[in-house]
Symmetry: C2
Subunit: 470 residues, 2 copies
């Protein structure tokens, strides 16, 4: 089991007590230190141990967040932003104590500028909430991690999902944001212009900073028109290698695929069981094209030809919207579907990303490693970007199995790094991936990150214990 | 005339002399203090006065750049990275003295990874050099400022160009870079993976930082497949308003236009004269579509319909590749074509960017302002992004005209900011736009930038006097 030394608390019991009194006065019953609420705000979807905060506050706007941060800063008490708690690397844990800032009541859609293809939202708005709101206007927001995550949390972890191959990640789809810094100041990182060369890119600096530089309190996100035509389908393959080779050839051919997802045979079995599908239990690509009626038909045909070259197929279309929805819902539910394969076991969801040219090799080596190690661990991924997930199911009472899994995770990351990849394509660093940052970035680049962190948060109160080792 | 107080030099004549001796020893005739060379390295394409460096060095690799920076740091002497000297806001000036690091000999294309659609290049490689090299492999790099700029300079200023509406700007097309920091350390900002959530986005922090945080010594850039079919054409309009309205409707309709450029009547006249075209001298859109044969035909047809709704047309195609090249060469030569309208006058090339919904209004108000002020100033722009350029031609010996131009520039920026836009869409801040950063970003965000700058360059030797006021 992964254990982290609990960071020291840099505040006294008296300081905390005075802070809690201040927060109670300011926020009434929107601040609480009830144990059940605190525990709930440190729940995690993976095997990292929970570390509860000292209290939870529910602000309503940027000004209130600034008050919370200012009050905490006065006592040296950490703040931990909380969205939906669906992060996979311990982002909402409170290893040094502190106050969890729950954004669930900051869930207003402030403005939709249809002409500019952007929307201004509070950070607690979830991706499904935004898309439900936009649908009537013919617009959508493409970033879709498996969970119905909050946009603030998605920005903080630089999330992506199935559409990233076509629409990019959160870094490409946040135009601007507001954040409260450690000083209590509220910054706006950019205007609503689609592009700018006016100084440092604070937007991209905040996206992916996991709450360690500031608390995101508003986002201006890019929207896209719902395509005139959408076609989705599934294509079975004899091996993961053949599926990966098809992905590489598809991307290189310039086909503007909107989604291209690999599921290995075990993942397909999990999806069949959990989502009542009856897919052949063999490696498979889920694909989707966006465009005009003629355009998607042309692209689908060309994709079918490419797949056939690698022995894949037949490529079958989900022509009805409800069949398409069923397919993608099954894909989005992968995390829970995998969990159901081995009731009682803990899911250890992890991800890496490599250059596309190394994808087939990386997946194949990983499959051999899983088999050799004797793990139950489906592979599923956003393979158009070279990004894939492995989700070992671990009996946490079996020390040998836990150790075997730890060894596997270590080798997975080292394999991705050796192939010029990254230790995490979209889950973030949190607590779980901190130890890999030196190997990935080198001392100089990591030192640059730490210098920025120290300059903007000299007392270390912004989500401490995340990204950087204590 | 815009005057900047010369910043104080923080080094002694003895210090400089010792440094020059050290550089001569290390670099031989690749270091020079010849006046003509120094003057040439402070030349500028706009009206900002030239401020020559103390010497110029021509390194060959990252290690040599690191030596230059380390030697300069020892004496507190600034370093100013130099690409092709085609920046428009005084980026290569040396207001506090210092050593110009000329990247022209670091112009190797280190690797092309066709399977991964990326290339590794030294910073002195120019955009045309890269595209000439790539053509046989069916690949291209889309970012195209007017000049044949170096990729290092383009990254440093977050450049874009005519293709940005489809392919993004330098921020979207640099995967990773190497840079020498003020400490002399060489950092690599990211892996070659297409996406990552592993810590702060140092790549995007360096892109647009104009040499104030480090000297870029290598870039990994994203490539794109040359589309199967390209169609370009021109569409005349009765007014700039009608052209802008057509742009807005085109983008909103979801048409994946690759280029959509506005030229006002005066700009068309300049292009006709300079590039031997015979276009009707009326506001005009140059457009281009990329895709399959069927796809571009479909898109072109729909664009023609949209233009007709706003009274535009007829839309005429440049079907032959040589006609297309002639069109875009004319567009890229806009800066020089405008200059030729009034020989002896100085070009004051500036740009702003606003949300698309405000574009028509911003262009119309700017046109009225130009006419009222009595300037000769064509408008041309990457209007699909809400970005446009104005290029007043000024008789620098006429104090009244200079003052009138200064007033116009000030109003142009204030107008863009009032419309939720930015003071520069793609030219950068340099010296010319520094005074607008507080108004655009606010004290808190500008303070955040300065905190980062001070943390990474505590002695202020990295391209001082750019982005921030002294």
């Amino acid at each position: 089991m992964v254990n982290f030394t609990e960071n020291p608390r840099h505040y006294t019991a008296e300081g905390l007590s005075a802070l809690c009194e201040g927060l109670s006065q300011r926020f009434g019953d929107r601040f609480s230190t009830a144990q059940s609420l605190r525990d709930q705000h440190a729940s995690t979807l993976t095997w990292l141990p929970a570390q509860a905060p000292d209290g939870v506050v529910f602000p309503l706007d940027s000004g209130e967040v600034a008050s919370v941060v200012a009050l905490c800063a006065e006592r040296g008490v950490p703040v931990i932003p909380y969205g939906t708690g669906t992060g996979l690397e311990g982002h909402v844990n409170a290893p040094s104590g502190g106050i969890s800032i729950d954004m669930s009541r900051m869930n207003a859609i402030v403005a939709v500028h249809a002409e500019d293809l952007d929307a201004v939202v509070q950070p607690g708005v979830t991706r499904k909430q935004l898309n439900d709101y936009l649908r009537d206007q013919g617009l959508f927001f493409p970033i879709d991690p498996g969970a119905d995550a909050s946009l603030g949390g998605m920005a903080a972890t630089r999330a992506s999902g199935t559409n990233a191959v076509r629409y990019g990640t959160m870094k490409d789809n946040v135009l601007s944001l507001k954040a409260v810094l450690a000083s209590g100041e509220i910054v706006t990182t950019a205007s609503r212009a689609k592009k700018s060369s006016a100084g440092y890119d604070l937007t991209r600096l905040m996206v992916g900073s996991e709450g360690t530089l500031g608390v995101i309190t508003e986002l201006t996100v890019r929207l896209h028109g719902i395509p005139e035509a959408i076609s989705a389908g599934i294509c079975p393959f004899a091996s993961e290698q053949a599926a990966c080779d098809t992905v590489i050839a598809t991307i290189q051919s310039g086909l503007a695929v909107a989604r291209i997802e690999l599921l290995d045979a075990l993942m397909v079995r999990a999806a069949n069981n959990y989502s009542q599908l009856d897919l052949p239990e063999t490696p498979m690509l889920f694909v989707e094209f966006h465009g005009s009626e003629a355009g998607v038909a042309e692209q689908a045909e060309r994709f079918g030809e490419i797949a056939a070259e690698f022995g894949g197929g037949p490529f079958s279309w989900a022509t009805k919207p409800e069949d398409r929805t069923r397919l993608w819902t099954a894909r989005h539910n992968a995390y829970w579907a995998v969990g159901a394969l081995r009731p009682g076991a803990r899911s250890v969801a992890t991800d890496v990303c490599v250059p596309l040219s190394r994808l087939a090799e990386c997946v194949a080596e990983t499959r051999r490693d899983i088999d050799r190690t004797g793990l139950v661990a489906p592979i599923v991924g956003h393979v158009g970007d070279g990004n894939f997930h492995v989700q070992p199911l671990i009996d946490m009472t079996d020390a040998g199995e836990v150790a075997a899994c730890e060894g596997f995770l270590e080798r997975l990351v080292q394999r991705a790094l050796a192939m010029e990849g990254t230790c995490t394509g979209e889950h973030g660093v949190g607590q779980g991936k901190r130890k890999y940052l030196v190997a990935e970035h080198g001392e100089a680049a990591l030192g640059m990150m730490i210098a920025i962190k120290n300059a903007l948060d000299p007392r270390g109160i912004m989500n401490p214990g995340k990204i950087f080792m204590p």
